[in-house]
Assembly symmetry: C2
Homo-oligomer: 231 residues x 2
């Protein structure tokens, strides 16, 4: 089968519901990927009929519970790359960046839980929102728990991640719809502090000035800022 695979416009709201509900059938990475794959299976058929979304189950909890990349992002990113071809980099980068600044769960997910649009759930009540500041499961879950007072093993935290899975899959579909329609996909801009750190501390050729690292994670999540000698 030729790469990339065919895509047809999907409804973000249907995707939000399926991804949320499928979270309870195989967690975050399965929820996000299966929502898109199963819809394309219904609308396009082959080759989606042979692709098992089960293969993304390992993404749960940031890869079998290790707390690395959020599984909703991981599962959605795989499907984006499958259908976006050489445009995958821009779309996945935008999705990850969006995730780090978006207050989850969305109003729509909170509403769908309360009004019964979602069919599977741990709790139906409105859940408090927060911004994770990171695509890492560990950081995303920890900050939400500490800001809301819910334990990480609580039904509310699980439901929060289900709603976040719906929100992330819906956003992925919005990006793919834009790509297919030939519309511009916005480019995510890192925050000023991280960009300033990255003027020295990024993938670079010069070890001496700090070119011994890589990544776009927010530096101050784990590191103390230091005086910039070049400022």
């Amino acid at each position: 089968m030729q790469y990339p695979w065919p895509y047809t416009k999907l409804d973000p709201e249907v995707t939000r519901r399926i991804a949320h509900d499928n979270y309870f059938g195989g967690a975050c990475a399965y929820g996000a990927s299966s929502a898109i794959i199963h819809q394309l299976r219904d609308k396009i058929g082959y080759p989606y009929t042979i692709l098992p979304a089960d293969m993304f189950k390992y993404g749960e909890g940031g890869a079998v519970g290790w707390g690395t990349l959020c599984g909703a992002l991981n599962g959605a990113a795989a499907v984006i790359t499958l259908v976006a071809g050489d445009k995958y980099h821009q779309l996945v980068d935008e999705m990850i960046g969006w995730y780090t600044v978006y207050p989850f769960p969305s109003d729509k997910s909170n509403q769908y839980a309360q009004d019964g649009t979602f069919k599977e759930y741990k709790v139906q009540k409105e859940l408090p929102k927060n911004v994770s500041g990171s695509p890492l499961c560990h950081v995303s879950v920890t900050r939400w728990c500490k800001e809301t007072g819910y334990a990480s093993g609580s039904p509310e935290r699980s439901e929060r991640c289900a709603r976040l899975t719906g929100d992330t899959a819906a956003h992925a579909v919005e990006l793919l719809n834009k790509l297919q329609a030939g519309q511009v996909v916005s480019k995510f801009e890192l925050d000023e502090t991280t960009e300033e750190c990255r003027t020295c501390h990024a993938k670079g050729k010069d070890f001496e000035i700090g070119g011994w690292t890589r990544g776009k994670l927010k530096c101050t999540n784990c590191h103390e800022p230091h005086e910039n000698p070049f400022k």
Copy 2:
């Protein structure tokens, strides 16, 4: 197509070479996944003939350069999950744990680079080893660079990640071969310090004692240890 997909025993050394060389055709996640998928395509045929390893390209640099989950782990984990069925959790957990304590690049990868077994490369010389202590690309690359003095944008760092991709794919195949042969796959044990932290700070029901987080990342990579009040 029924999940899980069929598997047949692969040669870890052939896998190490293909994954290393394919790194230069699509980076770490593509290198690791394509090495396994393309061999299964040759040996089994359908359905591997229709699965594009290109769909894992987004994993590079810890997901389009964000520095989260190492792409070699991400790509290999997807293929493990595709063929291991309900045993994926144990195998992927073991692989990630192994990665955090393994001194990359392996002697074999260093040897294959020097003796011309690898066909694609940035540099052929022996490269210094280190243990990353983390499955995160950001930490893995940064520590190797700081311990060796090579810049993150250097040919040596790129070659190091190519050899690590070969080593990780070879390990994934060793695990799958064991699973297929009905042999016991060892269970990765976290270090004592992290396990002690996790007695309170893990996915838990009790917020008050510290059950507001999740993950298996080494706590002291980013956090200062505190006095354990229960000790």
